[in-house]
Homo-oligomer: 369 residues x 2
């Protein structure tokens, strides 16, 4: 039941669904550490509550909180959200949660646990230690009585997109980084990704967005809307610091073929204006050397691509930016069966280093059609 398997998911008939596929639930960790989340984490916790409330309209949500924050999380979250105790180093469940795989024939659900080193370990990682976060995937799978595969790659699901039909999309900057799997080389990483996520092909982009503390996670730049369709962050302004990266990614995606030989339709979401840390925000952090130091003026990576797609809702970051509305309008067109919910003030999550996609781990289920 909760066994640790030594076989390969692809050989066992399992695949990683696209994030637009059916979910049995969604998992989040509760933000707490006061050297990452300003003002005792209270502003971040409020945004978490807003996001959880939106997702809970679509599928069951479980929030994992430490023993000391358990009662606070329980009291602030909607009653129909489940709270489980879990010791955390931080709260990036997209990256520390498992990759949930499904077997379309048997209906079984299993999970993959990657190695996790807080985005680069001592070579550019953003917090230390990360020993508790390295156990989150296992603990979630245990809680759901799902069998576990352990993939030897150092990887985070925020860095990997799937079309659910054999194609993965990722960046060399992240997965081939010397602080992740540089010693393995592209061919071997490709093979491990395909073996463990039940895929046949990886589309590699050279890099993700600038100012992203994750070494270029794909989930700020581009993601699958459905098989054959990608949406990516975009700016027509050559002075935008990400301009060249967008051009590069667009060229590759427009010329790519997926695992089934299809070309990709590439849609564009306008980027929000560049953001930087304010003095008052930096003043709200505890000092120490256990987490990346953020000072006023530090540039922030913001992206509407970092949304969460549930069974019936798409939950989208808002920044108080002129493009908030346009991004939601485009996503509403791309997801005509979903209700788009904008979450105000997700800047509070950006200050910790991510956004809505980064903090949500979708638990897939075999669709009963």
């Amino acid at each position: 039941m909760a066994a640790t398997l030594t076989t390969l998911p692809r050989h066992d008939g399992f695949r990683l669904p696209g994030e637009f596929e059916t979910k049995a639930g969604c998992w989040l960790g509760w933000p707490e550490r006061t050297d990452v989340w300003r003002n005792g984490a209270k502003p971040a916790q409020q945004v978490w509550v807003d996001i959880v409330s939106a997702i809970a309209q679509s599928e069951p949500v479980t929030v994992c909180a430490s023993a000391s924050q358990y009662q606070n999380a329980r009291a602030r979250l909607p009653v129909h959200v489940r709270v489980l105790e879990m010791t955390l180093n931080d709260s990036w469940f997209r990256d520390t949660g498992p990759a949930w795989l499904i077997n379309d024939t048997s209906g079984e659900v299993r999970g993959v646990q990657f190695r996790f080193n807080a985005y680069g370990g001592f070579d550019g990682g953003i917090y230390f230690p990360w020993d508790k976060d390295e156990q989150i995937a296992q603990k979630i799978l245990e809680a759901e009585r799902a069998a576990r595969y352990r993939c030897p790659l150092i990887a985070e699901m925020g860095g990997i997109q799937s079309d659910g039909q054999g194609t993965l999309l990722t960046t060399e900057q992240c997965l081939l980084n010397r602080n992740r799997n540089g010693h393995l080389g592209k061919e071997q990483v490709t093979e491990l990704l395909c073996d463990y996520l039940g895929a046949e092909q990886v589309i590699w982009l050279p890099r993700g967005c600038k100012f992203d503390e994750t070494d270029g996670h794909i989930d700020d730049l581009a993601c699958f809307v459905r098989p054959g369709v990608v949406v990516m962050q975009w700016s027509d302004d050559p002075s935008d610091p990400q301009y060249e990266i967008y051009q590069e990614a667009y060229a590759i995606l427009s010329n790519a073929r997926d695992a089934r030989g299809r070309p990709l339709a590439v849609h564009k979401l306008p980027a929000p204006a560049p953001l930087v840390w304010r003095e008052d925000e930096a003043a709200g952090l505890d000092h120490g050397d256990a987490a990346l130091s953020r000072v006023a003026g530090t540039q922030i990576c913001a992206s509407y691509i970092n949304y969460y797609v549930g069974n019936s809702v798409v939950v989208v970051p808002e920044f108080g930016d002129v493009n908030d509305d346009a991004a939601q309008r485009i996503l509403a067109e791309l997801f005509p069966q979903h209700r788009v919910i904008g979450i105000p003030n997700t800047r509070e999550i950006l200050l910790g280093g991510g956004n809505i996609a980064c903090i949500t781990s979708p638990q897939y289920a075999v669709s009963r059609r």
Copy 2:
């Protein structure tokens, strides 16, 4: 879903099943504290593994372990047992877990959370603090997405027996103790018990067994085998320190009528010989003042009554006593549909203050007949 309700279970149509009724699972906590469990808790953990392995043949088992013991528990326990993280003061889940109630009409399952003060708080309690154990019932109900009632009584389920048909059995020594609910008085405690456990009548015994650190929990003295049938600990030896207590309890039970007006058939299990702490056992404990101090020569309350009855097994303590076999033979006759499994060396649990029943929290389910 996981709401905290302010109504009364009895009014809502819920009842506490008898422990012989259908279970959806069983919950245990993993023993850890080295001032209660000798030799780094390793001997106790081995007995836990034996007990869990036996129960897991009958129903799904979840073991809750602290963050620091999580991987150790996971590695030692059978793979099909679920391990959840939970901060614990100690591991007496019968007493810290919820009382699971069922609604026979709707099929719904809910739980009651009592107040918990580690068996008497500063007036005879056995460890301090108990703040984490006071949250266990809530955390278990959350994990199962079950609604929760909060009963104002200070009580432990090890002190309460149910026949599932309106009758409860308990002791005045425990529930009316000034260190529990003495300020309320017998009438009010009776009313609260009936309201929260969906019962109509309480059979009160004056006291439980001697040397029981719980102030006379019923689960060392007598329990329901099925409606109208009780089994109790027994000795014909007038020099047995419990002799008078057995006589007293037998007289009351033999003359009692249950909530449906039936007399009770009272069966007897022979008691094991009295036990005391050995020098080498006491030497294996960490010193401190956070837990009751046990020294060589301390008397121990041992009882075969402290068994666990699952859907298909009865898991019974063994002490290496001449009566081990007789107790199992009698229980096999009382539970003809069950397989009786003796667990060697449960003395290791006794050293902490209880036995198999004390560490197991049965999660009831509506029987689908």
